[in-house]
């Protein structure tokens, strides 16, 4: 589903990603962990070209994002992204947030968009919040709306960029539950996270990144119980 080859990314003279090779299979849930500044968020943002790629290739499905002929808007519409700070549109109601993409990108009818949106809001447990504005929601509710907004585009892949890092501790669970449900339904997911419990329980594979490269990748059991790389060991010993 996702194929990344020798991905490099520099900001000016500072090289953040120093050659990443990853493949993610359909229905796989890959968790990316690592210390801050390791490049994991940048890596995720390269997967839908929110960051320009310095060199290397990123292929999503059949689309090579680095090919200038690729319609990047089209690809993005099929790659959902959930941000640390939710990034809901504050001037729109929850329902409008969720229907904007289907209406303007997919050009579906208003009735159809509303129906899909209400179904999705129900799924994330926010059916009663359709007509309120985001400011009246808690952080956890906002993030679930953001997930619904991405799902409304019926994406092939979902990218999560530290989706629970901005949440109060008691609100983290509800977002993780929603993500867990999604994983169970077979969504292909790449999750940058500090939630090791989630990575262990839901992830099919864990990637440990540091200093712009993948230091180690393995099943959650192997990574957490039997890390090979000393950097992984040091990192896990600090957070577990």
């Amino acid at each position: 589903m996702i194929k990344v080859q020798d991905l490099h990314k520099s900001f000016g003279s500072f090289e953040v990603l120093k050659g990443i090779d990853v493949e993610v299979a359909e229905q796989e849930v890959v968790c990316v962990v690592g210390p801050s500044g390791s490049g994991k968020s940048t890596f995720l943002r390269c997967l839908n070209m929110l960051e320009d790629i310095t060199s290397g290739r990123v292929i999503i499905g059949d689309d090579d994002l680095t090919d200038p002929k690729t319609n990047i808007n089209m690809v993005r519409s099929e790659v959902g992204m959930v941000f640390q700070h939710f990034n809901l549109f504050p001037h729109m109601t929850v329902l409008e947030n969720v229907t904007l993409g289907p209406l303007k990108v997919r050009r579906v009818s208003k009735e159809e968009a509303n129906k899909t949106a209400r179904d999705l809001l129900k799924k994330v447990g926010l059916a009663d919040k359709a007509d309120v504005y985001p400011e009246s929601l808690s952080g956890g509710q906002k993030q679930r709306v953001a997930i619904a907004r991405s799902l409304a585009m019926n994406p092939k892949v979902m990218l999560f960029d530290e989706p629970t890092s901005a949440l109060d501790p008691e609100l983290i669970g509800e977002v993780l539950e929603t993500m867990k449900d999604l994983a169970k339904e077979g969504m292909t997911m790449v999750v940058v996270t500090h939630e090791m419990g989630f990575a262990r329980e839901v992830g099919n594979r864990v990637i440990f990144m540091d200093e712009g490269i993948i230091m180690e990748e393995n099943t959650p059991e192997e990574i957490f119980n039997n890390p090979q790389n000393p950097r992984t060991q040091a990192f896990l010993s600090k957070i577990l």
């Binding site: 549109f89 001037h91 904007l100 303007k104 990108v105 907004r149």
Partner: protein
């Protein structure tokens, strides 16, 4: 004797002056509303131009803003009214010249207001828009612009009042606006104090209700 003349002229009833200044009031209103309307369009174009990644568009927009902000509106007005006529043989009426002067001058300041407001919208908003597949233009139209407009309202209100007062200079090209009309009254009657008071009040009649209206709009939009 002198005292008598002064007293006589001082007690001219305001009802004599008001109709004459009122004629100018409508002209002033026409100039500021049309000028500010077109100025907002121009300002939006150049303000967004100043945010463009395209060096050419950015350059043109910057030159426009710097030139129009950096020169007096009086000079701009005289150039539009006399200069262009001499240069390329276009003759604008005083009214058109006045509207154009407000348009190009306010346009430059509004461009900065637009640029600042659009720039102030968090980057995550456009990233969220782009990530659901919206084009750059759609992201601007549906996500950035509606939020930016709210932030523009206070500085736009400020600029409106500044531009309104700028129109008082346009009596120099015999545009029959408020100041021109008041001065006409003075030169024909030698009554001096009351016309100026009337002129001042005429501007306040626009600015005070405008400020109150703006405050209500701001409260409604919660900016």
């Amino acid at each position: 004797m002198i005292g008598l003349i002064l007293a006589e002229n001082w007690f001219v009833p305001f009802t004599d002056i008001i109709p004459i200044v009122l004629e100018g009031f409508w002209v002033t209103l026409e100039v500021i509303i049309a000028g500010f309307f077109f100025g907002f369009i121009i300002g939006s174009i150049f303000g967004l131009g100043r945010l463009s990644n395209n060096k050419f568009i950015y350059g043109i927009s910057s030159v426009y803003v710097e030139v129009m902000r950096g020169t007096p509106i009086l000079v701009q007005l005289l150039f539009i009214y006399y200069g262009l006529a001499a240069m390329i043989d276009v003759n604008f009426s005083a009214l058109t010249a006045g509207i154009l002067a407000i348009t190009v001058n306010a346009g430059a300041y509004i461009a900065e207001i637009v640029r600042g407001a659009v720039y102030s919208i968090e980057k995550g908003q456009s990233e969220a828009g782009r990530s659901i597949g919206l084009t750059k233009a759609q992201t601007m139209r549906y996500i950035i612009w509606p939020q930016a407009i709210k932030r523009m309202i206070p500085p736009l209100g400020n600029q409106f009042i500044i531009s309104l007062k700028d129109t008082s200079l346009f009596s120099i090209i015999a545009l029959h606006e408020i100041v021109y009309q008041g001065r006409q009254y003075i030169t024909t009657t030698f009554v001096i104090a009351q016309p100026y008071i009337t002129i001042a009040i005429a501007y306040l009649v626009i600015t005070i209700p405008f400020s109150l209206l703006l405050r209500r709009v701001e409260r409604r939009l919660d900016v």
